[in-house]
């Protein structure tokens, strides 16, 4: 039986003895012998198997990487998903006769007139809030205003929220539904477009609901000031939480536990579709039942088609084809480009891409996103601006019917899924069909890391034929025939402590980066300070690594790469459940780049070759991947980079979006570690 030259695990660092020459036996005996092998044979077999795995590890890793990445790319493929369905029987979507009528539309128009005159008169927030509160009071609702201040390192915003509570006529309002509208529309992520029609809708819905008596839950109407800030102030106060940078007036009236909520965003004169925005802070999502119900209600009770975000389905609007050219480029032959599956794929891909953009950065796509942290399932209905055909009547009916569905709930939404990817308003992908992609990539990274770990524990020494070898102070005479001119493996200890120190140092560097990023000085002088800081992060590892003795460095490099990959893999596989888009982003940025690390370095078989010519270019590439891209971005579009950093820091300070701390404290250090691996290789 041939035993491959494997790595042996003897305690004393020793040599591979050759296997004994296979004895010639008859086949039956051999077969029986296989079943009842001696321990030595068993060990040899196990070693042979381990050697085979180790030898083919490269292929296995490659296969895993390919499968993982390809899977990620085909997530929008229609057959991976399925139609949405309603899991909670109590919901009964679109099963009621709606009675929101043209009289209510008339009222909404009146409210709108009032608001428009205030805006024309350039009224202050306080004035507007008082006006809104007066209007609610006229309806006989409990109402009050709430002034707030939200201060972040670089920014101070203030405003006045208005809220009103319709007490449930039937039950003691232990639960509540929230109907909200922010003063600023989500158009352009709060670029200043006013949501006047959204606010008018809330008022007219309030006056309409006043007339009916079948509500089993309190209904809270909130008109929050600003885009997200007002709602954050309202929600933290409502839930009795203190956020150190928010000063808000206490709420004079309160209600029960809010189970579900909807935000109304209606910025233009008329609309053609209702868009669903559902991403909450830090990649959380509302229960899928809610979105499915809304989709049905809007279609059947309101008569308005539903879209994802503000994405029109280009299969119905061929004029929009241009927007999909990045998925189905023009150079593709017509026969392929016009295939139905590919068209659907392109449409889904655009939705998934938008979703990943919100989720990976942890951003909320509207005020609904602030509610998930309080276990409120919420979404924003966005009235897509168009010349027609829908207006207050359609949105009013849709809201009424949605409220009836929310009112039907006997317990919190829990039956359907919280982990999904919507590819179209009525199609979604279950967790089992997208999550494995990132997990497979992280497994490939783990295997790569463990492979390096094994490598780091072994040293290859070239044995000149027939010479005595001195190892561990003990000279062993080795038979000439057995060991002529082969290489041997010697076990060596891994410098784990030193490597962990390096890792801790890089994370400390990340911590320092985070501290710097959140100072006012930095945020006001990003174009000057960002390159300086990047240079610092670039320089520190070079200087520090020069202190490491060259004899130890390759060993440290291998071990560091092993632990770096294992840690990155752990981070990714755990993130998949919490925030798949972020995990996918990390897979793309860390997966192959970290695994390839020192593969450009000279192999151990030629240790004589001095140096590693590509060391600094590769290190620079890592620097670019980790943090340098921001500095590079400054050259092209300074404003974009400055806004991105300021926005990210503000999101963290105001709403607790984890992206910036994660970037500084985990992502940058991991890439810096990969750079150090190259420096030491």
């Amino acid at each position: 039986m041939e035993s491959p030259p494997t790595k042996q695990t003897t305690a004393q660092a020793t040599l591979v003895p050759p296997p004994p020459p296979p004895a010639r036996e008859n086949p039956v005996k051999r077969f029986l012998g296989r079943l009842k092998a001696s321990p030595a044979t068993k060990i040899r077999r196990r070693k042979a198997m381990n050697a085979k795995i180790h030898k083919n590890l490269g292929w296995l890793k490659l296969l895993l990487f390919i499968v993982g990445y390809v899977w990620m790319l085909v997530i929008p493929y229609p057959d991976l998903g399925r139609k949405t369905y309603s899991d909670e029987n109590a919901l009964q979507p679109a099963q009621v006769h709606t009675s929101y009528n043209w009289g209510d539309v008339r009222k909404a128009d009146k409210y709108l007139e009032g608001l428009e005159s205030l805006v024309a008169a350039n009224a202050t927030s306080e004035r507007i809030a008082t006006h809104l509160s007066d209007e609610f009071a006229k309806l006989g609702l409990l109402t009050a205003t709430q002034a707030y201040n939200l201060s972040t390192t670089n920014d101070l915003s203030s405003g006045v929220n208005t809220y009103a509570i319709l007490r449930s006529p039937r039950i003691s309002g232990a639960e509540a539904i929230l109907v909200g509208a922010s003063w600023l529309s989500r158009t352009g992520e709060g670029d200043g477009t006013l949501n006047l029609r959204g606010v008018s809708t809330v008022l007219s819905i309030a006056s309409f609901l006043r007339r009916s008596s079948h509500w089993a839950k309190d209904i809270i109407f909130v008109v929050s000031d600003g885009y997200m800030d007002g709602m954050q102030a309202f929600l933290t106060t409502y839930h009795g939480q203190t956020q150190s940078n928010i000063q808000a007036q206490p709420l004079r009236h309160s209600s029960g536990v809010i189970w579900t909520a909807m935000a109304i965003d209606y910025p233009a004169h008329s609309f053609s579709h209702l868009g669903v925005f559902h991403e909450a802070l830090n990649g959380r999502l509302p229960n899928a039942d809610l979105l499915h119900s809304f989709q049905l209600i809007s279609r059947y009770a309101g008569g308005v088609p539903v879209i994802m975000y503000d994405h029109l389905d280009w299969r119905e609007h061929p004029a929009l084809r241009k927007q999909f050219d990045w998925v189905t480029p023009k150079w593709l032959p017509r026969s392929i480009r016009d295939r139905k599956e590919l068209k659907t794929f392109a449409y889904h891909a655009r939705n998934v891409w938008r979703h990943w953009g919100y989720q990976a950065r942890g951003k909320a796509s509207g005020i609904h996103g602030l509610m998930r942290q309080y276990r409120i399932d919420a979404f924003t209905m966005f009235a897509l601006p168009a010349v027609g055909p829908h207006g207050f009547h359609a949105i009013g009916k849709t809201i009424e019917s949605t409220l009836r569905t929310m009112n039907n709930l006997l317990e919190r939404l829990h039956a359907s899924v919280f982990f999904y990817t919507l590819t179209a308003p009525d199609r979604f992908i279950k967790i089992g069909n997208y999550l494995p992609s990132a997990v497979i990539v992280s497994v490939a990274m783990m295997f790569t890391g463990l492979g390096f770990w094994v490598d780091a524990g072994w040293e290859r020494i070239l044995v000149p034929g027939g010479k005595a070898l001195a190892i561990g102070g003990k000279a062993l005479a080795i038979g000439e025939t057995a060991f002529r001119g082969e290489d041997r493996w010697k076990q060596r200890s891994r410098p784990v402590l030193a490597v962990l120190m390096i890792m801790a140092l890089t994370h400390a560097l990340g911590g320092a980066l985070y501290t710097l990023c959140t100072t006012a000085v930095f945020l006001q002088n990003i174009p000057i300070l960002l390159p300086l800081i990047s240079l610092l992060i670039f320089g520190v590892p070079i200087i520090l690594s020069s202190f490491i003795a060259p004899s130890a460095s390759s060993q440290i490099s291998k071990t560091l790469q092993a632990l770096n990959l294992s840690f990155a893999s752990t981070i990714i596989s755990i993130t998949t459940v919490l925030n798949f888009s972020l995990a996918a982003l990390l897979c793309a940025l860390l997966g192959l780049p970290l695994a390839l690390g020192s593969s450009a370095a000279p192999t151990r078989s030629s240790p004589s070759s001095s140096g590693y010519p590509l060391k600094y270019p590769v290190y620079t590439l890592y620097a670019l991947l980790g943090y340098g891209f921001l500095t590079l971005g400054l050259l092209y579009s300074p404003n974009l980079v400055v806004q991105a950093i300021q926005g990210g820091v503000r999101d963290w300070e105001a709403f607790g979006v984890w992206f910036v701390p994660l970037f500084c404290g985990v992502y940058v250090p991991l890439v810096v570690q990969a750079g150090v691996v190259v420096l030491l290789a």
């Binding site: 695990t9 003895p17 321990p39 962990l500």
Partner: protein, 438 residues
């Protein structure tokens, strides 16, 4: 993350004297406890305190007790009556005092662990490893966090270490008293009784005999009769006294069902890091007694084989049984596996024989991140459910199991290693290689 913290301090602790390490960390702990009220955040964490060790439940029990209501009459309080008597008489019951008490208990535990290490080495003077051993207990996140959460499992850990330390120092009666106190406070620690008795009876005590498994067998009839039996009798006497004291304190026997049998009857299904709660939430009620018996037997079944196999080194048997307790007991907290991990630092001779330390470490990192995340996802965020958290406790059990198994294997392997090099040195290389592998 946890690994990095541990090592930075490890290197710091290498050259520093034990006294300096203990006092620095204790001072830091006191600062931590008072600058920001950490324990208020942590005391409700299910990972850090079980129903049997929770500080808030202890407060509830004390309140009822001080107002002349039997705290055991409701289904809320499972602590031993001794806690009631201690906190209502000797130690004033305040958050401030509690923070100090828990900090000093940790320091005492670390000191005891260092004494165990010295006893095992047979030295009484400081060694270079002292600080490392102390740090592995004091800054181990698994033991540090429950202590910050004021979980009584930290006090029980200290008692465990004290009992083992006293046994290592051949102080029979104090050791048995500490052990009896421990078992009264936390009956599932009964697993440690056999190895501690063996440790007291063993001729070479805590010295490392892993390398020579054929020597120092203590399980002979005369030795058992002459030494172990009297020790057991003494232990039993202490238990009787403590049980009497408990009965006097609580003025009845209602605590027996709530405290002594809590680990067997599983009255409270609050989730914890262990493997019991989920099974028993899912189970049909009429199967409950049967499975309670199976789970309890499963826990007890390890005692005999481990004590027999490692009769030459009872301290190592204690380590393994502590590992099994941390993995399989009914109401574990992070402190139980934490104690096992800290105790591993006393056995450096097995390190080079561990087969998969990196896999165990990675499993622990995964589990340490997943446990709080899934617990939060289920109970705070509401998006997950019990299955998520249960899955993470399974990962944690795998991590603990891998640790125990690897230690077991390495402990046996040390003996074979020495056997082969010592007795078969003259034989040819091939022979040696083969034996070494097995």
């Amino acid at each position: 993350m946890s690994a990095t913290t541990r090592t930075t301090t490890t290197t710091k602790g290498l050259g520093v004297s034990l006294g300096a390490t203990l006092s620095t960390i204790t001072a830091l702990r006191i600062c931590l406890a008072f600058t920001k009220d950490v324990s208020t955040y942590l005391q409700y964490e299910q990972l850090l305190s079980s129903p049997l060790t929770s500080y808030t439940r202890l407060q509830e029990g004390l309140f009822l007790f001080n107002h002349d209501v039997d705290p055991y009459s409701g289904g809320l309080f499972y602590h031993s009556p001794l806690y009631l008597s201690i906190f209502s008489t000797i130690i004033p019951n305040s958050r401030f005092i509690a923070s100090l008490l828990w900090t000093f208990a940790d320091a005492l535990g670390a000191w005891a662990l260092v004494q165990i290490w010295r006893a095992r080495q047979g030295v009484s003077s400081p060694t270079s490893r002292d600080s490392l051993v102390a740090v592995s207990y004091l800054l181990n996140p698994y033991t540090l966090l429950p202590s910050l959460a004021l979980s009584t499992s930290s006090l029980e850990n200290t008692l465990t270490l004290l009992a083992i330390m006293l046994a290592s120092q051949r102080l029979h009666s104090p050791s048995l008293l500490a052990l009896a106190l421990l078992i009264t406070l936390n009956p599932s620690s009964i697993l440690l009784l056999a190895p501690v008795l063996l440790l007291l009876a063993h001729p070479t005590g805590p010295k490392s005999n892993l390398a020579s498994p054929s020597t120092g067998s203590v399980l002979t009839t005369p030795l058992l009769k002459k030494t172990v039996l009297p020790l057991f009798a003494e232990f039993f006497a202490y238990i009787a006294v403590l049980v009497g004291a408990s009965a006097l304190t609580s003025g009845g026997w209602s605590w027996v069902g709530q405290n002594v049998f809590a680990g067997v009857l599983l009255p409270d299904l609050t989730p914890n890091t262990g493997l019991w709660w989920y099974f028993f939430t899912e189970m049909f009620d009429h199967f409950r007694p049967f499975f309670l018996m199976v789970f309890t037997m499963h826990l007890l079944i390890y005692i005999a084989p481990i004590c027999v196999k490692f009769q030459h080194d009872p301290l190592f048997a204690t380590l393994l049984l502590q590992g099994i307790l941390g993995t399989f007991k009914a109401y574990p907290t992070l402190a139980d596996p934490g104690l096992f991990i800290a105790m591993v630092s006393v056995f450096p001779e097995i390190y080079s024989h561990l087969r998969h330390p990196i896999v165990t470490t990675l499993l622990h990192i995964h589990a340490a991140l997943l446990l709080p995340l899934f617990n939060h996802l289920w109970l705070a965020h509401g998006a997950g459910n019990a299955n998520f958290f249960y899955a993470s406790t399974l990962v944690f059990a795998c991590a603990n199991g891998a640790g125990v198994l690897d230690c077991l294997w390495a402990g046996l392997r040390v003996g074979i290693e020495k056997l082969s090099t010592g007795e078969k040195a003259s034989e040819d290389v091939e022979e040696e290689w083969t034996v070494v592998q097995e």
